[in-house]
């Protein structure tokens, strides 16, 4: 599904390297967790996979379903089946949630499905994630609470049905009940779409207790320094990250 080889990337405007040789392979149907402290490069990895213009790939390759996507425009990556739930979704004044969905769903639903039918489904999904229907009339992310943003970002996985969903810090801004609910629906999604893969990016291990990931990775200094299973997450929960820092070869 996703294969990343020796990926090096920098922030364009600052000429500052963030990713220093990431290797990662996510197979179809797998759930991965990428953990790391703030500034470790884990969010950047998600954005570079999505094609954020703020970053520039200096070296390495990203393959999605066997296709090299380094140069692919962001929208084509999205249509190909990659979804990124933003840690900080962008506010777009003037664009209502209703108009946003009216435009974006055209890219993911067959033409013969009338929009009112899609709209009905979206309202159902919003309800499922605890978002009232009248939110459709509000401007995209403008004045939304942290929790609302995260719920709506997560809920879009169920709208666009991506092959690969990357959920960046979906746990921050949500209370425990909200987090449980969101994770439950994502788990359900994976059960119902066994071909789809999920990458959770987080720096707290509290998220992991609701998940059953196939792999847990730890990022430090722009590289994945260790990969393992749930036991690695438990170790981080007990010891923090510092014991791993010695392992980093600079």
């Amino acid at each position: 599904m996703l294969k990343i080889v020796n990926l090096k990337a920098k922030v364009k405007s600052l000429d500052k390297p963030i990713l220093n040789g990431v290797d990662l392979e996510v197979k179809s149907g797998e759930i991965h967790c990428i953990m790391g402290r703030n500034g470790s490069g884990k969010s950047t990895l998600g954005h570079v996979i999505m094609g954020n213009p703020d970053y520039e790939i200096e070296e390495g390759e990203i393959y999605f379903n066997g296709q090299l996507i380094n140069e692919l425009p962001t929208n084509e990556r999205a249509v190909a089946g990659i979804y990124l739930a933003f840690q900080n979704p962008i506010e777009i004044p003037g664009v209502t949630l209703a108009n946003f969905f009216r435009y974006t769903t055209k890219k993911f639903y067959p033409e013969n499905i009338p929009y009112p039918q899609i709209r009905k489904k979206i309202i159902e999904l919003l309800g499922k994630f605890g978002i009232p229907e009248d939110t459709m009339r509000r401007y995209l992310n403008e004045g939304f609470s942290g929790g609302e943003r995260k719920r709506i970002e997560a809920m879009q996985v169920l709208v666009y049905k991506p092959k690969l969903a990357i959920l960046d810090e979906i746990d921050s801004g949500l209370d425990i009940d909200g987090l449980k609910q969101v994770v439950r629906y994502i788990n359900e999604y994976v059960e119902q779409n066994p071909e789809s893969s999920i990458i959770f990016i987080t720096h707290y291990s509290r998220l992991l207790q609701y998940l059953n990931p196939n792999k847990v990775h730890v990022m430090i200094g722009g590289r994945i320094v260790m990969s393992g299973d749930m036991s690695l997450a438990k170790e981080i929960d007990e010891k923090g990250y510092s014991w791993l820092e010695g392992n980093v070869v600079s």
Partner: protein, 472 residues
Amino acid sequence: MEDRSILELREMAQEYKYDFKDPYLYKEVFDKGLNEEKVIKISKIKGEPEWMTEFRVNAYRIFISKPMPTWGNTELLNKINFDDIHYYVCPEDDHKTSWDDVPEYIKKTFDRLGIPEAERKFLAGVTAQYESEVVYHSIREDLAKQGVIFTDMDSGLREYPEIVRKYFGTVVPPEDNKFAALNSAVWSGGSFVYVPKGVKVSIPLQAYFRINAKNMGQFERTLIIADEGSEVTYIEGCTAPVYSSQSLHSAVVEIIALPNSKVQYITIQNWSKDVYNLVTKRAVAYENAKVGWIDANIGSLLTMKYPSIYLLGSGARGEIISVAFAKTGQHQDAGSKIILAAPNTSATVTSKSISIGSGRASYRGLVKVYKEAKNAKVNVQCDALLLDPESRTDTYPVIEVHQPNAAITHEATVSKISEQQLYYLMSRGLTAEEAKTLIVHGFIESFIKELPMEYAVEMNRLIALEMEGSVG
């Protein structure tokens, strides 16, 4: 004398070498350029009353004596060559009363303008301007029964001379500005609307305009009178095919809203990108009357248009909602004027502009509150959206207040589409162009809401068309 001069003109017309785009015979074609004699001939050929001939000649004299405006886009203004413009052209067809009689090529023009099927049901009340003369016109029976007059301005002058003489040129006198003077001298076509006391016209009156000839000037003159307690909405939608040479469009619209009446005037201006659109639009509102200008400027090379409302009666209200779309090469110099001269008058102005590429949008606004206007209220909101780094917007507000308890607010915002907004929308599958279009739609949503359904659809389609290829 009159007959003979018409004969002479017809001979002139036959000698004229036709070089227009349409294989189409013009009844009367004048040479390019203008002089006093020509102004008189235009009046005579139309068989106008003496007072109108005098009005035209006087206006012509004002036109030549007035210098070009020294503000706005003077560079473009000074490129206008008044000697290289035709001031009067009319098609051979006489006025039509039914759709079936409208010549096929004109119907094709409407097709090209993309008037949706849904709107054609309204066409029974349409004034369609082809070149300088109205060729199609009929009034829905129910309108006629209510005593509503909706005709072209030339017929209006012929058939309702008293009403026309009473109001014509009273709101926009020829002295107002150089282009109003020019229009007053050579006007042709446009609409004449009179709504009798207490009559509420339920369907919008609509007019379609089109410039079709090289160096063709269009000088429509529209006069709308809403008698006491009446209500009417008038819609003017313009599109024009693109020609390489410059055209001048200089219309005058006068609205008289008598006490307790409501008038709404909607314009969707989409002239081809080589047209000078220099228009004077003004309304007077008497006691408790309400006037609204809903104005979209999408096409043209240079637009200079500042719809105005003079609130002359106590409790009169005004509303101006405008959108300007300036693409590379275009300058939309638009704005508004609100004059409050009576107690308890109020007005709101909402102006939105979008600049694309090196397009330039300017807002020029005047709010003037006289000391008579106790408790006057005015809210002005100007929002500009810049799509590209080289896009430009300017705001020139003037506020003049002589009444201390007037409440005036003026807010202006300038925003840009950020790379991160585009990226976010693209991460949901939209192309950069679609993402920008979505943001632009959102930006002008409050304007679209004011339009009747069919026009909202047309406007949305027009914007999508304008946004095509706007991403470099």
